[in-house]
């Protein structure tokens, strides 16, 4: 398990570092985030947590219902 974690964390670091060289190197398309090294790492991390949070909030306060929500008495049909 610890070895897997080491591989995982080194991957995280490697891809952000690679991005540093790239941003200095070319600075590709013209979006505000194109010049931030590791933007997609940050976006992935925060985006993932935000999606989970939004989905859970929506589900908890509004959308999630019991499984018999639509059919409480099936013999009515």
């Amino acid at each position: 398990m610890r070895r897997w974690m080491a591989v995982f964390i080194s991957l995280l670091v490697i891809f952000v570092l690679l991005d540093l060289f790239l941003v200095i190197g070319e600075g590709h398309d013209g979006f505000p985030w194109s010049h931030i090294a590791g933007f997609f790492a940050l976006f992935g991390f925060i985006g993932c947590l935000a999606l989970i949070g939004i989905a859970k909030l929506l589900g908890h306060y509004w959308l999630e219902r019991g499984e018999d929500y639509y059919h409480k008495n099936d013999d009515n049909e």
Binding site: A41, F43, G47, C48, I52, A55, G59, R65, D74
Partner: protein, 586 residues
């Protein structure tokens, strides 16, 4: 003239569907594959630019119009029809095999339709044939879901028909080309968007697809929505509304997918999300956008088919598809996990898998048009896709809580089907030219650039990190999620009461009342004076509080109620006196 270069492929499938039931049962699975293989041979001979027309009333029907756009969709539909047949090789249910052929055939019919009338006919056949893939599961849930599916698509078909007729009347043309606006084209756009499951017209998809049979849902996942993407690309390319609808739809799908408990419903929501990329590509409408939409449809049909095959195999082996009832299957079903992960990596856009080379074309098309918000929304959807399908679904199905499930053995055809589909997903990812050469326009795009690969890897790895941090707190919940199907499902109870229960009660009341009236008439008629006397006596007893005397007999007897002669004489005399008195006074 009908030749090999303009042969309508739908004919092959219709003939096959008619032939299949009369063949011996053991030959039917082979026959299915042979029919699709023959169609593939014919498909290879189609030539871009060829058309086949028939005169019909005052119009020319273009039953087959071949160009690079329809060919690209035609290829993937036939390939998927074949792979679905391999996966469902064990199926002994002739109904499913026949309707699968009709469904694939009518989808091809739409894709090669050059006029709106032909389009409409095949559009309706698609809806009617596909519903049997849901009903074939033969459970109460699938029966109900199938009915809802059919009603929604019947409605969409009617809107399409209204639009087509309006278009015919107002422009005098029935050719299916780019629409130029006006009410007719909005009606047609509505019905296309309904089939593409663009929110808020998306409720039918996650409602119906998880209720299909194990093999039926593999077919369902591939055709209806992608036919709609084709139709949108043909008729509404460059409509900015679609670009925004697509981008929002991509995120909408992943948010709802995260809440789903049924594994196949989770996948169904990701169809909405992935179709969002295609709709966005169509809305951007540039050559890159249309190429991206087509490429993504091509790749998506295969990896989504693969994912439905994977979850279908789990359902087949365990009888379960809910995350709250699955877990710990890794020891017994690890080959399915590996094949499923190929699909999961493809849909997540991991480099070397097919989604990476197709999804990025749509995002790149948005980048070229400087639509920054669209780019971010689509990337956000990628995060959600990897989160739900790449991490959460496999975690809860193959790992998570070990529920000591004893899966049944799985037919070899299912593994072969999944393996073939996986192979194509990887082949496209490793060698994108395979896909790019089929696209409508020449491709000037290279997915494997350093910045793209690095950006994607960052996105995915950090999504993984975030998931790993909250993983212990996530647990599947045995709930359902409300979606726009609420609009017709919940009030259906009210409608059921208003149109069925209450009228029935009203009729019951009226019937009871008329019966009582008839009873009263019978009693009155049997003994009118007796009834009158009884009524007066009862009223008198009630008024004075005296004891009630014995009732009069039920039947009339003339002797009992004969008026004494003296009274009659008295009445006559009184009458004479009054007459006399009257005479005197006047």
């Amino acid at each position: 003239m009908m030749t090999m270069s303009n042969f309508p492929l739908a004919i092959i499938f219709v003939l096959g569907a008619m032939l299949l039931p009369v063949l011996p049962r053991r030959a039917r699975s082979w026959a299915y594959l042979v029919v699709v293989a023959i169609a593939f041979v014919f498909l290879l001979h189609l030539e871009a630019g060829a058309t086949l027309t028939f005169p019909f009333l005052n119009y020319e029907l273009v039953v087959c119009r071949v160009d690079r756009l329809s060919l690209a969709f035609g290829y993937v539909f036939v390939i998927m029809g074949f792979l679905g047949g391999v996966y469902g090789f064990h199926v002994k249910d002739t109904l499913q095999q026949v309707v699968a052929l009709l469904y694939v055939g009518s989808s091809l019919g739409v894709v090669f339709a050059g006029d709106l009338f032909t389009l409409l006919v095949f559009w309706e056949i698609m809806a009617v044939s596909s519903v049997f893939l849901i009903w074939a599961r033969r459970t109460p849930q699938s029966r109900r879901a199938g009915f809802r599916y059919l009603l929604v698509h019947a409605f969409g078909g009617s809107v399409l028909m209204a639009g087509v007729i309006w278009h015919m009347v107002s422009t005098g043309s029935i050719l299916f080309n780019h629409f130029e606006g006006g009410i007719a084209s909005y009606l047609i756009l509505f019905s296309f968007a309904l089939n593409a499951a663009v929110p808020p017209l998306n409720g039918w998809l996650p409602d119906a697809y998880p209720e299909g049979t194990v093999t039926g849902s593999v077919f369902l996942s591939a055709f209806t929505t992608k036919v709609a993407v084709y139709a949108l690309a043909r008729g509404f390319a460059g409509l900015e509304l679609l670009m925004w609808a697509g981008a929002i739809m991509a995120v909408y799908g992943v948010v709802f997918a995260f809440l789903a408990n049924d594994g196949r419903r989770l996948l169904a929501y990701h169809i909405i999300s992935q179709v969002g990329y295609m709709v966005a590509g169509v809305g951007i409408g540039t050559k890159m956008g249309i190429n991206g939409a087509t490429a993504h449809a091509f790749a998506h049909i295969l990896y989504k088919g693969l994912l439905f095959m994977g979850m279908g195999t789990v359902l087949y082996a365990t009888g379960r598809s809910k995350l709250t009832e699955l877990g710990g299957l890794v020891r017994s079903m690890w080959p399915v996990l590996i094949l499923f992960m190929v699909g999961a990596f493809s849909i997540s856009g991991v480099p070397l898998f097919s989604g990476f080379v197709s999804k990025s074309m749509v995002i790149y098309a948005a980048e070229l048009e400087h639509q920054g918000i669209v780019v971010l929304l689509l990337n956000l959807a990628s995060i959600g896709t990897f989160l739900s399908i790449g991490l959460k679904l496999p975690y809860f199905t193959w790992f998570g809580t070990d529920r000591n499930l004893k899966p049944e053995p799985v037919p070899p055809g299912m593994y072969v089907g999944m393996a073939l589909t996986s192979a194509i997903c990887i082949a496209i990812g490793v060698y994108p030219a395979l896909l790019y050469n089929l696209l409508p326009f020449a491709v000037h795009y290279q997915p494997y650039t350093a910045s793209h690969v690095i950006g994607t890897m960052q996105l995915l790895i950090f999504t993984g990190l975030a998931f790993w941090l909250v993983m212990k707190k996530l647990h599947a919940e045995a709930t359902i999620t409300l979606d726009t199907d609420w609009v017709y499902r919940r009030p259906s109870r009210l409608a059921y009461r208003v149109f069925s229960v209450e009228p029935a009660r009203l009729f019951g009341k009226v019937e009871e009342l008329s019966l009582r009236l008839a009873q009263f008439a019978v009693r009155l008629g049997a003994n009118p004076p007796g009834y009158l006397i009884d009524t007066i006596r009862t009223a008198r007893c009630a008024f004075f509080g005296t004891k009630k005397p014995a009732p009069e007999p039920d039947t009339f007897s003339p002797d009992r109620y004969r008026i004494p002669l003296g009274i009659m004489v008295l009445v006559v005399l009184l009458f004479l006196i009054i007459l006399l008195a009257w005479d005197i006074i006047t």
